[in-house]
Every structure is written in structure tokens, then in C-alpha cells.
Symmetry: C2
Subunit: 500 residues, 2 copies
């Protein structure tokens, strides 16, 4: 019975004149923000957009992104936020897959534009589109309607549009209130990218409760610290690479961050070293470790007061299931396993996606037996704390981004000199994991050439940070499957594993 | 997609071995509590109870009440908590109206028992019933299923069973997390009666998040303060009379209540004097003013940090709508009124009841135009804060209990010496409002006799605390309606009105 319209309506009646968003010189109250959302919705209708039509957004964080995030689903359209780090090639794939009719973007004109009926460029086209009277949102948007398609992965094969309904995202919003303690007087910094669940996780909750969202277009540690100080930020979510960089800068050149009460982090593994530096740099601040997946809208587990637990066994945990979310360790037959047994992490609850857009087979595989299969391997102790030990999906999490090995392997293998390739994640202090390729060549080629070859088709963060070139065949199982575990072992030996 | 089963399942996987309930010498962890819930459900099935059958509970607060509150809906039955202050006459009316087959009670045998197929007496019958293997809850209980019938009022006419579904009560639970900040390490004191929404408001949330519920069988200020100290209570809800008594005792004979972070209060008006004394008695503790109705499951608005607002205009407000709940001021045509205009308070959201059991006309009247009509008159300022100014329903709120004037008038009018009677609420420092009767006699009768006459049919808290006996007719409108406002005026002159 709740949709995106509810927090907007609530904001209008409960805190219309409080500060809703701050972005650079722009300061808007809730009434203004919601009026702009309604004018954006009217403008999109004037372009011929109809119910359930998809609207892609490719942009840096800004107040207009927040408006699009809220208005598109509230108006009964479907939001498709795309990764602004992706190449045109990757963006085009997702845009066509989603059948998006309109693109809202802050990028300069490019070939990508030809995939859309209309391109609304930020800021000029966008402001022109809003130059229309606000209209109420339609009153028949249902909680089971699709609110957004959230793409994971990049090119063909790996790229899948995660279908989240209004109810999925509202359920996540409620779930987060069980640990984020967001209140009317909070000032939340939006710094992780809004196209990611990590960036948008608090948008609906902030609107609903009346907290102010201060928006940083993209992360830069000195600017982030300046904002923490000048805007009296109380709470934020950083991905581990941001947390590490912000801690280093704060220790070197401390700002007054006395307003800060909570630093949550998630989206990729944080090393113990990063967490200890964060505690040193931000004493007295609550650290909260989050584990989630786009398919779970995104929150699965939370570990509040992590700063008190670092020297205990719980310090290696992702915490317990967030309220409303259920987790279990599943065996190969999808049966629940006992406490402390190791298997695949399954998740269910009202936050779990409806499936992958246009991919019934992938949907069936991911949601079989009524559980979302996370692809992560772990155990749950007798107190319900989840510990991850490995990933069953062939995926690398680097700086908060998921990289599917197959996609990078495809990019490298398309070079004529390459005979075999395996891509794995190796430990990296800055990125958590780094993309590493083991390449078997058939003719001489150097690393620089292969890297350059990758750059033409996949996003920069997916391009290997290191490479081994060899003329020996890769280790394989008797069935001929490449033994990635064997390739990973020397890199991870003696390393403290703490995946999340 | 959530039912009562979800918090129970969550507790089992997330915090099975933490302390769930404390009641006297009994200390149970979540695993034990949930095992007992499942055995209670199995025991009720063994008595022949079938899905959607009603089970009445008449008991003081205890750990078994918490179990019944959880197990009955989780098993697909319908909970009917009845007011333990009611007379057998009143209880019998509700039991028959609800068609309850089983009574769970801590009362000694009485005529009331004959209204039920089975009476499960606490503790012996109850423990015998649990002497059966636990069975899983049925897997087809739906969120739209009825979870409970919550009776408002007492005898015929006024007594109505408020139908709340699983979803209604779960929605309220989520909503409360937006202000109660309940966490795993909280220790919540259950002291308001569990048959009231004020007593049971935190049961589901505590189970879900893993907080401990410490249960006091019934309020006594010295015992309450001793429990606050010895059990290191962090949070509770008191009705204003309890808050006043606890503050007085704490000022006289202070206990160490340093663990306490929040005192919420609701269910009836608190005077400024009570609030100021509470601030004095419990310095540094957050006061939260709650406004609700059984029909809203129950929370409607909350005013957090009230202790900081007492000397501001907001100190007279009930706060803003709790998250997920929508409020509006409605005119006589149920149209929304503007900010600061005075009209009836309307409420909507997933927390609002399905209607009154077996009373389609009352349901239609209460829920017309898609709003629950609270019967309270108020205004909402431009920042969404609700201020109550009067009640449009002819009802008195005394010590947290709702008393319908008509019910008391019927009891008095049934005495042969009474010609006319009007019952009103008058200000009272201890009870907020006190029940006051204005009686016109046809033959000599004294106050004591009329009071005694009332006691035989209605609960003690409904019996007038004061009476005026007169031989002059009551003031009436040209249509012959008694002008209660005229009767109330001299009592309320110069009094600080603060209804909630």
C-alpha cells in the first residue's frame, strides 16, 4: 500500500519547509523539491512518455538526480539509473536492453544519444522540461508496480536489469530504519554514486523522515571532509575506498567533524586496516558494516557499533539480517543448513527483486526455491551473524563495483594473440580487491597492448590492474574447468580474508 | 508479505539466545519464548481450534500474555485481548460479540466461563496446554488475515471490535522505528496493560530487533522505579497518570535510572505540570509524546524530544505523522482543509483497521471517503504538526482509558429516580480528565446510591468521580440536543487545554 508517492506526500504535510537537498549553491526545501518532481513528471508526460515506460539516467550526483530518482517511479514510469563510469558501448547495451525511451544526462552529446527518442540534457533541457505546471501524480500507481531497473554488470552476458518494485524499495527503506536511526534533524551526505544502491539507499528514508540530503557530485576526500565540517553532516555511507581515503586525509589535516554520529560502509570488503584507521580518524563515531546486493534492494545484513567489535570474533561478521529480511545458508538442494555450516547465502523478504528484466532463465536460477541466491558463500553463527568466506559467483568487487570475470575475460580473449585467459580478484589495500588477469598467449603481445585493447570496450574500473603473461596452459580440472582457486591461492596466502 | 511469523522467525535466526522476556523470576531467551509460542499454538489446535477462530485473553501483564499475543495470530487464529478492569457483564458482551471459543485468563472461575467452549486458566491449564510438541506455524497465514479484534468501549452500543490485520500491526511496528530507535541492546519495560495498544505497541518490534521486554504485571510507582533501576531499563511507554506518579516518587526517593534514555507517553492528555515534573524527575531522558487510536494500530503522530519543546508553541502539539501514516484535517464533506484550519483529524495508511467486527454501518461511517475519522478535532500547522483542540466524539479519556459518555449515561439513566443525565469530562490533575455526571432527578436520590448503581454494570474507571444533582432541566439546543459544551464550560474555564 506504499509507493514512492507516500514519502513525497508525507514530506509535504510534515516538513514542507525544512531543507531537503543541498547541492553546491542550491538549497531546496521539501515543498520546492516535490514541486520540481511533479513538474518533471508532467514534462516527461508532455514528451509522450506513458505508464511503465523506462527513463535512463546517466549523471553525476546532483539534486536533479534525486528529483529524477523520486519523480520517475512516483509518476508510474520506470527509472533506469546507469553507471556513469561505463563506456558508451556498455551504456548503449543497457539502454537498448531496457527499451528506455528517454535519457536524462549531464554528458555532452555522443553516439549514445541515438539510442533514445529524447535526450534531456542537464541542466538546460532539464530546466526547460520543468517549465510546465506541476500536476498531481497519478493515483493508481501500485506497490507491485515496477519502480526501477537497476543494471548489474556491463556488456552482453553479464548485464542484467534487476527489477525492483515500489514495495521492494519501500521495504528496504523501512528495514534501514532498524539501524540507521535517521531522524528529522539528521544531515545525510550523499557521496556514493546515486546510480548504485549504496548511493541511493537513504533517499526515500530521508524524504520520509525529513532529514536533509547534502549531495557531493563525486567523491574527493578533501571536499568530503570540508562538507562534513561546513554542512554539519551527521551520517553517511561510504564505500571502503572512500572510507580509507577520508580517514587518511582526516588524520593528516583534521576538520571539525563533531556533528558526525554514523559512518556506514558497504558494497565491497573493507580491510581491518581500513577500519582501524577509520576508528582512529573518527573517534566516537559509530561504524556500521552493511552487506547487500542490488537484487535485495539492497540491504541484507547490518553490523551496528562495529567500532566496538573490531577486536572480537564479530568484527569479521557482516552482522545479522536487517529487520524484515531473512537469511539462510543453503546447501546444493536449497535446503537450510545448520548454524556454522558453510554454504550459499540465501535471502528472502519483501525487498527481494521480481527478477531480471527479459531473462526468465536467469530469474528462475536466481530465485529458485523461493530464495534469492546471492552467489556468496558463508556461514551463520548460532546468534544469527553472517560471516562470508567466498563468492560462488565468478565476480570481483573492486572499489565498490562488481566486475564479472567473464566480461573481462571476453574483452581480453578477443585479442588475436590471446590463447587462454582467467581473470581473478587479488587483495588490494585501496580497492579491496583488484582485477588481475592471467593470460596465455599464442603469439607475442605485451601487457600495455592488452590493457589498451580492453579499454576500448569495458569501463576503466574493469580493466585489469595487473597481469601475468605466460605460455604455459592454465591449471584445469579433469572436466577441463579452469581452477581459479589455484590461481588465486598465491595472491591471498597469509592475507586476512574479510569479504562483504 | 509480512505476518507475525516474520519477527518470530527473525528472532530465531538472529538472536535466539538473547534475553527476550523477564517477568518476576522468569527469564526466557527468544528460542524458549518462540518454542513456547509454537507449543501454545499446537495446544490450541488440540482443543479443536481452527483457522480464524477467536481466542479471548483476560489477564494481567505477564510473559504468558506476550506469548499469547504472538502465537495466536502467528498460528492463524484471532487474538481478542479484553480489558481486565471490565466487569463480567462487559467482558461477556465482547466475548459473545467476537464469538470467541476459548478464554485464556488468570481470573478465578466465574459465570464468564460459560461463554466459552474452553477456559485455559493461567498458570496451570496454560502450562498443561504447552505440554505438547512444538509444531511449525502454518505457512499460509497471509498479511491480509485478521490478527486481532481489539475492543473499544464496554457494553452494547459503545463496544466495537476493531479488526486489525497482520499488515496493520506490522505497519505500526515499522512506523514506530522511525522514532523509538529500538535496538538489540534495549531493555523495554512493558507496564501499560497489554490489552491496550499502549501496552502492546512495542511487542513485535522488540521481538524483531532483539530487545529485551521486562514485564511489570500492573503499575505501582515504587515497583516501576525499582525495575527501572534493577533491570537497567532503557525505554518504556507510560500513560500520563503513571508518568505523574512515577515522577513524584522519583523526586521523593530517587533510584539510579541512568540507563533510561526514552520515556514515551500517550493514550490520554498529559498536563504541562505532569511533563515539567517528568523533566525534573528524569533529567536528560527523551520524552516522546504519542497520539494514536486503536483503529490506527495505534500510532498516528509522535513528538520526539518533547522535553526540549515544552516552552515553545510545539510543546502543545502531538507532533507530526509517524512515518507511513498520513494525517489531514477534514471538513464536513471530508475534503482536506488548509494549514491551521480546524476540523476533524483524518488518518490513512497501511496501519488503519479493516473496520468494526460485524458492524458494517459503523465501519462505513468511520472509514468513509478513505479516511479513518478519529473523532478528534484539531489543526495541522504548515510544518505538519498536529494540535488537538477538542473531541468530536462524545468520549472522555481518563487515565489512559476511553469512556463513552453514552455508556455511563445509560447506566445512570437506568435508575428509576433519574429523569435526565449528561456525562462529561472535567479536568483532573491525576487522570487528565475525570468522568463527571450532571443528573436531573424525578424523585429524591443521593450521589452514593447512583454511584453504587453504576458499579453493578460498568467498570470502575467509567463510574463518575463527581456528580451534580439538580431538578432543573439540562440546557438544550432548539432541536432538543443536550448542550454539553455549555455544561463543560465552567469546569474548563481558565484551564490549559492539551488534549491528546
Amino acid at each position: 500500500m506504499h509507493t514512492f508517492q507516500d514519502p513525497l506526500r508525507h514530506a509535504l504535510t510534515s516538513h514542507a519547509h525544512s531543507e531537503a537537498v543541498v547541492c553546491g549553491d542550491v538549497r531546496q526545501d521539501f515543498a520546492t523539491t516535490i514541486d520540481r518532481c511533479q513538474r518533471l513528471a508532467a514534462g516527461l508526460r508532455n514528451l509522450g512518455l506513458e505508464r511503465r515506460d523506462r527513463v535512463a539516467v546517466v549523471a553525476q550526483n546532483c539534486h536533479r538526480y534525486i528529483e529524477a530518482y523520486l519523480a520517475i517511479p512516483a509518476a508510474g514510469f520506470v527509472l533506469v539509473p546507469l553507471n556513469s563510469r561505463h563506456t558508451d558501448h556498455e551504456l548503449s547495451y543497457a539502454a537498448v536492453d531496457a527499451g528506455a525511451r528517454i535519457l536524462i544526462t549531464d554528458r555532452p552529446p555522443s553516439d549514445l544519444d541515438s539510442d533514445f527518442e529524447h535526450v534531456v540534457r542537464i541542466p538546460d533541457d532539464y530546466e526547460a522540461l520543468l517549465d510546465t505546471p506541476a500536476e498531481p501524480f497519478p493515483d493508481d500507481v501500485a506497490e507491485t508496480d515496477l519502480a526501477g531497473l537497476f543494471y548489474t554488470g556491463g556488456t552482453t552476458g553479464a548485464a542484467k536489469g534487476v527489477m525492483l518494485t515500489h514495495r521492494n524499495l519501500i521495504a528496504n527503506t523501512w528495514s534501514c530504519f532498524s539501524w540507521n536511526k535517521l531522524a528529522r534533524d539528521d544531515r545525510y551526505l550523499v557521496v556514493a554514486p546515486l546510480f548504485h544502491a549504496a548511493g541511493s539507499v537513504a533517499v526515500l528514508g530521508s524524504i520520509w523522515i525529513g532529514a536533509t540530503q547534502v549531495i557531493q557530485p563525486s567523491f574527493e576526500p578533501n571536499n568530503t571532509l570540508d562538507l562534513l565540517e561546513s554542512e554539519r553532516i551527521t551520517s553517511t555511507l561510504l564505500v571502503p575506498t572512500m572510507l580509507a581515503a577520508a580517514s587518511d586525509v582526516q588524520l593528516e589535516n583534521p576538520r571539525n567533524v563533531s556533528s558526525l554520529r554514523m559512518l556506514s560502509h558497504g558494497a565491497s570488503p573493507a580491510t581491518m586496516a581500513t577500519l582501524r584507521r577509520a576508528v582512529e580518524a573518527f573517534p566516537g563515531v559509530e561504524l556500521v558494516h552493511l552487506y547487500g546486493a542490488t537484487e535485495a534492494a539492497p540491504l541484507v545484513t547490518a553490523l551496528p557499533d562495529e567500532q566496538l567489535l573490531l577486536d572480537t570474533p564479530l568484527g569479521r561478521s557482516c552482522g545479522a539480517a536487517s529487520m524484515g529480511v531473512e537469511i539462510a545458508i543453503l546447501d546444493q538442494d536449497d535446503e537450510r543448513m545448520e548454524a556454522d555450516e558453510i554454504g550459499e547465502v540465501g535471502v528472502r523478504g519483501p525487498n527481494i527483486m521480481q527478477g531480471y528484466w527479459g531473462r526468465p532463465d536467469d530469474t528462475e536460477a536466481a530465485l529458485r526455491s523461493g530464495w534469492y541466491h546471492s552467489g556468496d558463500v558463508g556461514r551463520i553463527d548460532s546468534d544469527g551473524h553472517l560471516f562470508l568466506v567466498d563468492r560462488s559467483k565468478d565476480m570481483i568487487v573492486t572499489g565498490g563495483e562488481n566486475v564479472y570475470s567473464t566480461e573481462v575475460e571476453d574483452a581480453i580473449a578477443s585479442h588475436p594473440a590471446v590463447a587462454e585467459v582467467a581473470v581473478i580478484g587479488v587483495p588490494n589495500e585501496r580497492w579491496g580487491e583488484a582485477v588481475h588477469a592471467v593470460v596465455v598467449t599464442r603469439s607475442p603481445v605485451d601487457e600495455a597492448e592488452l590493457i589498451e585493447h580492453c579499454r576500448s570496450t569495458i569501463a576503466g574500473y574493469k580493466v585489469p590492474k595487473s597481469m601475468e603473461i605466460s605460455d604455459q596452459p592454465l591449471p584445469k580440472s579433469s572436466a577441463g574447468k579452469i581452477l581459479k582457486r589455484t590461481l588465486r591461492e598465491p595472491h591471498w596466502a597469509g592475507y586476512e580474508t574479510r569479504i562483504s
